[in-house]
């Protein structure tokens, strides 16, 4: 019987719960013997000219091996108009930017020495506010004429709303947040006697990281081996490599010793990329019967100090996905990515799609309120129907499959939506100070949006066990279990006998890796394709072995044996076949190139209570349909949904990276940053739905980010809904007590 769709306990867990993972800082590899410890000296100011760096006193501190600055680096600087230097040379542009590298014999000597590095900063004006950045009064890069680093789409055409009976517009904020994986960034590296660099890096993409770091160091990628050991979460912020490991690799060569680096959490919160960071102007138009006829999304994306994925990828995803699950004939979507003197922004769980969904889902609620219609009903009237797929959106996406109304109805039924509305009305009528809010989100997102391929390799060993290599290197998702299930199902070999390896570029030279919820669709499909190739090779060999025609040979996946069709006696096992075939004969090494994006979807309902006296919001229920097609392992699938729901709720209610007017981070430690905890979340209510895609052999879509995309606006909409009877129409995220109390008190003043 197939194990697909069954709750298989992860093979990864035993080590993690008994002796712990092998994260970068845990490595005790002999190659790292005698390693020096590294710490970056980071800018404490947002924007300044660096006029002098005096490292003489630091160099004399106990245990110091070297203090290295931009003047020491003999690497080619990155090019482009907004080049991000390896180490800051003449200017710094955000608090946290690396300025120098201190190397010491022992870990505890790092901070002592780093604080002795004397840097003269000649302050320049900070650019924090996005409108100021757009105005360009202060330019981050003097050679340019604007702080706008990239645009997506074309400027807004107001005529899109001509003829609309109702038009509502609103400026809203999708705030900057910290990805904050529990494991901060870390690396270790050593140059071999053969001149090759080996680096262990906490990354989602060993091969992309290798290419980036080798490129920075002026090496051919083959002169480098990059290993992702266990990785303690990434959420998009560990895609590829940051500039920091390039400096580490260079430093190891410079001092002729291995180097180890692990940042502190307070460094991490300002020096690892941030996510989101959009100011959006949403405009929605339609008729009083509930039909939406036009939608406008004008985005100002905060890119931070240097263009990374926040500048390039995020707003592209946001504008692409602007219309969500709705049939909206006219769409205007435009984005300007603007540089500010803050931490660069990049991917964070959803990377542009949560921002798109928040915009359209807030707009639907504003529209519903304006025409006096229930938000569920307005959505239902505009959802793309199941018979309209593949559906081409006005922004250029082609949705594969969907059952948007069914997802919405399932959530409404499970929640007892009508009963909740009645309770809301009852509380309002009774003057209960604790009011109830219901927030809906219907969402569609794009997974494997990069449409790149993925590698998969496998071999049946002479003992009948399988070793497989995936290019999709995980950071907590459980690929080793899920991919073993895919192969076990296909080959009829028990998954205990299947080992899935990943993360070492010497074992997997070409790969893309894990981001954008692409792994099962692409990495899993690559595994399936490799399995198919091995099955065809095995069929030939089995036919020869049992002296039958190839056409008469079948794989009995219940027994994991090859047989003449319908004749299990005389079957030949995988082990017998592999032994007969000889070393490595039953192998396949594939590149899954038929990679197309898919479009998971769902509906979420959040139920909140808001104390109108204090502004405190309590999230009571979160009910979710997240449809990503057939499920390989419900345990892992639900885990991804839980984590996604939590991160969406976290953005809606709690988390925000903030700066003061001078560009100093004000939430730069975990004591200040409101990282969501167990007490702030309810038990999640998950509903099942599985609509397959036709775009890959497994029929699957991605699930890594989906729940974050739905839950963020659902929770935000619930807060606004709770206060709608007071005249509140919008509350920006995070909807903390101060902001909610302010919204209530402003509304009361208006009355």
């Amino acid at each position: 019987m197939s194990m697909m769709g069954t709750r298989v306990v992860r093979t990864e867990d035993h080590k993690l719960i008994t002796v712990g993972g092998s994260y970068v800082d845990d490595l005790r590899e002999p190659d790292l013997d005698g390693a020096v410890h590294a710490m970056f000296v980071r800018s404490p100011v947002a924007h300044a000219r660096v006029t002098a760096i005096d490292s003489r006193e630091a160099a004399r501190a106990p245990g110091v091996v070297a203090v290295l600055t931009a003047a020491d680096l003999d690497l080619d600087p990155p090019g482009g108009d907004h080049a991000e230097p390896w180490l800051a040379g003449d200017a710094v542009r955000y608090v946290g930017q690396p300025v120098a590298l201190v190397l010491t014999e022992r870990r505890y000597q790092l901070a002592d020495a780093a604080e002795l590095v004397d840097v003269d900063y000649d302050p320049l004006p900070a650019v924090i506010d996005l409108d100021d950045a757009l105005a360009g009064t202060t330019l981050l890069f003097p050679g340019t004429d604007s702080n706008v680093a990239k645009t997506h789409g074309k400027p807004f055409d107001e005529s899109a709303f001509d003829g609309c009976e109702v038009v509502v517009t609103r400026r809203i904020v999708n705030q900057r947040v910290a990805p904050a994986p529990l494991e901060v960034r870390g690396a270790a590296c050593a140059w071999g006697a053969d001149g090759r660099l080996t680096m262990w890096l906490s990354t989602q993409n060993p091969q992309l990281a290798r290419d980036a770091i080798a490129g920075g160091l002026g090496l051919d990628p083959t002169a480098m081996r990059l290993i992702a050991p266990d990785v303690g979460g990434g959420f998009g912020a560990k895609i590829g490599a940051d500039p920091d490991p390039v400096v580490l690799g260079w430093a190891a060569r410079h001092v002729g010793r291995p180097v180890r680096w692990s940042e502190t959490r307070s460094e991490n919160l300002t020096a690892m990329t941030h996510g989101r960071g959009q100011q959006q102007t949403i405009t929605i138009g339609g008729s009083r019967d509930g039909t939406v006829r036009a939608f406008g999304l004008d985005v100002v994306q905060d890119g931070g100090a240097y263009p990374r994925l926040g500048t390039t990828l995020l707003p592209g995803m946001t504008t692409l996905m602007a219309t969500g699950t709705y049939r909206i004939p006219r769409v205007e979507a435009y984005s300007r990515s603007v540089l500010t003197t803050t931490t660069p922004t990049a991917a964070y769980r959803g990377a542009g799609r949560p921002e798109a969904t928040a915009a359209i889902e807030r707009a639907m609620d504003l529209f519903a309120t304006e025409i006096g219609m229930d938000p569920a009903e307005v959505r239902r009237r505009n959802l793309i129907g199941p018979d309209e797929f593949p559906y081409q959106t006005p922004t250029g996406a082609t949705y594969d499959t969907g059952e948007y109304a069914a997802a919405l109805d399932r959530v409404l039924a499970a929640a007892d939506y009508d009963g909740l509305r009645a309770e809301q009305t009852r509380r309002r009528a009774a003057g209960d100070p604790v009011v109830l809010g219901l927030g809906l989100a219907s969402y569609v997102e794009i997974t494997a949006g990069d449409a790149g391929g993925e590698s998969g390799r496998m071999t049946v060993e002479p003992d009948g066990s399988v070793t497989a290599w995936t290019g999709s290197s995980p950071h907590g998702q459980g690929h080793a279990t899920s991919f073993a299930m895919v192969l076990a199902d296909q080959l009829g070999i028990p998954m205990e006998r299947i080992t899935v390896r990943h993360g070492d570029t010497d074992e997997v030279a070409k790969a893309v890796g894990t981001f954008g919820s692409r792994s099962l669709q692409l990495g899993g499909s690559a595994m399936r394709q490799a399995g198919d190739e091995v099955i065809e090779k095995a069929r030939q060999l089995a036919a020869e072995a049992v002296e039958a025609s190839v056409d008469d040979i079948e794989l009995n996946t219940d027994d994991g044996a090859w047989q003449v069709r319908g004749a299990p006696s005389g079957a030949i096992s995988w082990a017998q076949l592999a032994a007969r075939a000889g070393d490595g004969a039953l192998s396949a090494d594939v590149w899954y190139s038929d990679a197309k994006p898919t479009f998971p979807f769902g509906a979420h309902l959040a139920v909140v209570e808001v104390d109108t006296g204090t502004g405190k919001v309590v999230l009571r229920r979160l009910i979710a349909v997240d449809d990503a097609g057939p499920v390989v392992n419900p345990l892992a699938f639900e885990g991804q949904r839980h984590g996604g729901l939590a991160q969406g709720a976290a953005q809606a209610l709690l988390e925000e990276m903030t700066y003061d007017a001078d560009g100093n981070p004000t939430t730069g430690t975990l004591a200040d940053y409101e990282f969501i905890s167990a007490t702030e979340l309810p038990d999640f209510e998950l509903l099942d739905m599985a609509t397959p895609t036709t775009l890959n052999p497994l029929g699957v879509k991605g699930i890594g980010e989906a729940a974050t995309i739905g839950s963020t606006p659902a929770v935000q909409n619930a807060v606004v809904d709770a206060l709608s009877h007071l005249g509140v129409r919008h509350v920006d995220m995070p909807a903390g007590p101060q902001r909610v109390w302010q919204a209530i008190s402003d509304a009361n003043r208006r009355v």
């Binding site: 990864e12 993690l16 719960i17 712990g20 505890y108 907590g476 639900e638 839980h642 167990a678």
Partner: protein, 155 residues
């Protein structure tokens, strides 16, 4: 200075710099790397261990303060091949993903169940408030702790 600590039932005696944190002593001196460091403000709980049976964030205790004490880390929890009920429940209920918060989370859960052998789900949430997890959304961690207490987990 010299510190003598019983770690996972084994007596250790080591010379350490005075300012050495217990977590660095465990990881760097004694080579017990399961206990992780997730922050520098005593906020995340990844470094939680038991000191004389009480859960403690080992990034906020000097090794010297644990002199003479008995310390238990996740490496000391299983009895040979038999997992501690909390470890077993974390695996069975998928209470971990990346695994980084897990050793600390498990030790905090062991301590919680010691104090409250039959906690409600709310008790578990409150008891683990000082242990942060970015992957699981806590739902399955709550399931795991409830299950480890011998109570039914609703599905």
């Amino acid at each position: 200075m010299r510190v003598t600590i019983e770690v996972n039932g084994r007596r250790t005696e080591e010379e350490v710099e005075d300012r050495t944190l217990l977590v660095h002593h465990l990881r760097d001196t004694l080579g017990l790397t399961a206990t992780n460091i997730g922050c520098d403000t005593t906020s995340c709980g990844a470094c939680t261990v038991l000191v004389d049976g009480e859960s403690v964030k080992s990034c906020t205790v000097l090794a010297a303060q644990a002199d003479g004490a008995a310390v238990t880390t996740v490496e000391g929890l299983a009895e040979g091949e038999t997992l501690h009920p909390v470890q077993q429940a974390f695996q069975d209920h998928h209470g971990l993903q990346c695994g980084f918060c897990t050793p600390g989370m498990i030790m905090a859960a062991v301590s919680l169940l010691e104090a409250n052998p039959r906690p409600t789900r709310e008790d578990v949430r409150t008891g683990l408030e000082g242990n942060l997890c970015r992957c699981t959304g806590y739902h399955n961690i709550v399931d795991a702790v409830v299950a480890a207490s011998g109570q039914e987990v609703p599905r």
